[in-house]
């Protein structure tokens, strides 16, 4: 079933708060270190503070988990028409307004930016505006999913 172009423009308000912890940052940094040492700004609060940050800082792609759980509100909605077994991640972008640091409580507001049909596939672009629970802007995450045609 193709994704209905009429789904573009749907929005979801900020969802469940996501607690950014030192442990989660350390685990993500270790998993993306590529065999090299983990950058100490991810694990040592003193190093992070010496760089001007309130606590250990998240790696540049750390907020993907929050973004994808927010995206799921659309992807898993039967009305979306998305067959997840046919989904391939097409594009991803993070624009950081300020670094996410341990201690942050973040929420994501979701917007389905566009649904386009191209070469038999549906291209779905979703934007998450990620803020603190107090409304401070932290990151804009944009992901494009390719839903492969039958």
């Amino acid at each position: 079933m193709p994704v209905d172009a009429g789904q573009a423009g749907r929005t979801w308000p900020p969802g469940e708060p996501f607690e950014v912890t030192r442990a989660a940052i350390a685990a993500f940094a270790a998993a993306t270190a590529g065999g090299g040492p983990v950058h100490p700004a991810h694990t040592d609060p003193e190093v992070a503070r010496s760089l001007g940050h309130a606590d250990v800082v998240a790696p540049p792609t750390f907020l993907v988990g929050l973004a994808q759980s927010s995206d799921a509100r659309f992807v898993d909605d039967p009305a979306s028409g998305v067959d997840f077994s046919r989904v391939v991640h097409g594009e991803q972008r993070f624009t950081h307004h300020r670094p996410a640091v341990a201690g942050d409580r973040l929420v994501a507001a979701l917007t389905v930016e566009s649904v386009r049909r191209m070469a038999g596939n549906d291209l779905v672009t979703m934007r998450n505006d990620i803020t603190t629970t107090d409304g401070e802007s932290v990151c804009t995450s944009t992901s494009m999913l390719v839903v492969r045609g039958e």
């Binding site: 685990a27 590529g34 700004a41 998240a58 540049p60 991803q92 950081h96 670094p99 944009t142």
Partner: protein
């Protein structure tokens, strides 16, 4: 930290060869929450038309930016990072003829914006000669 005034377009930022194993995929799945079985089970991967287990695109994206972070010295200096996923990274089982996968990452200065105080770093990532990231660009805030 590199200074904007000392950089030129085309300057090398860094390069790395990253060997990924099935265990790295499991670790990334646990750290990121992305438990899609195509990154764990050959059987599931083949059932959706893949040759076998592939790495998460987001793992490749996350690993590739390391050369930029190591160069600039502060992960938080990366203020914007985006890519297209243009190819797969098949990761062989530990007992396969070709276990794991080798990801070749390199990065150069692609553009300088003195007014904004940023450099754009263009990242190339290949696996087995195939480009797996397209237009991978990190914008880094640097001192003048």
């Amino acid at each position: 930290m590199p200074k904007l005034s000392e950089l030129s377009v085309g300057d090398a930022v860094g390069s790395a060869t990253v060997h990924l194993t099935r265990a790295d995929l499991v670790r990334y799945a646990d750290a990121s929450g992305d438990q899609n079985p195509i990154h764990r089970s050959d059987e599931v991967a083949r059932s959706v038309g893949l040759s076998g287990v592939i790495a998460h695109g987001m793992l490749t994206m996350g690993v590739a930016v390391r050369v930029v972070v190591d160069w600039c010295g502060d992960p938080a200096a990366v203020v914007d990072y985006g890519t297209r996923f243009t190819g797969q990274v098949p990761v062989g089982a530990d007992d396969a003829p070709e276990p794991g996968a080798d990801l070749e990452v390199s990065a150069v200065v692609g553009a300088l914006d003195v007014e904004a105080g940023t450099a754009r770093v263009d990242i190339t990532a290949t696996c087995g000669g195939t480009r797996v990231l397209g237009r991978a660009r990190a914008v880094v805030r640097l001192p003048a």
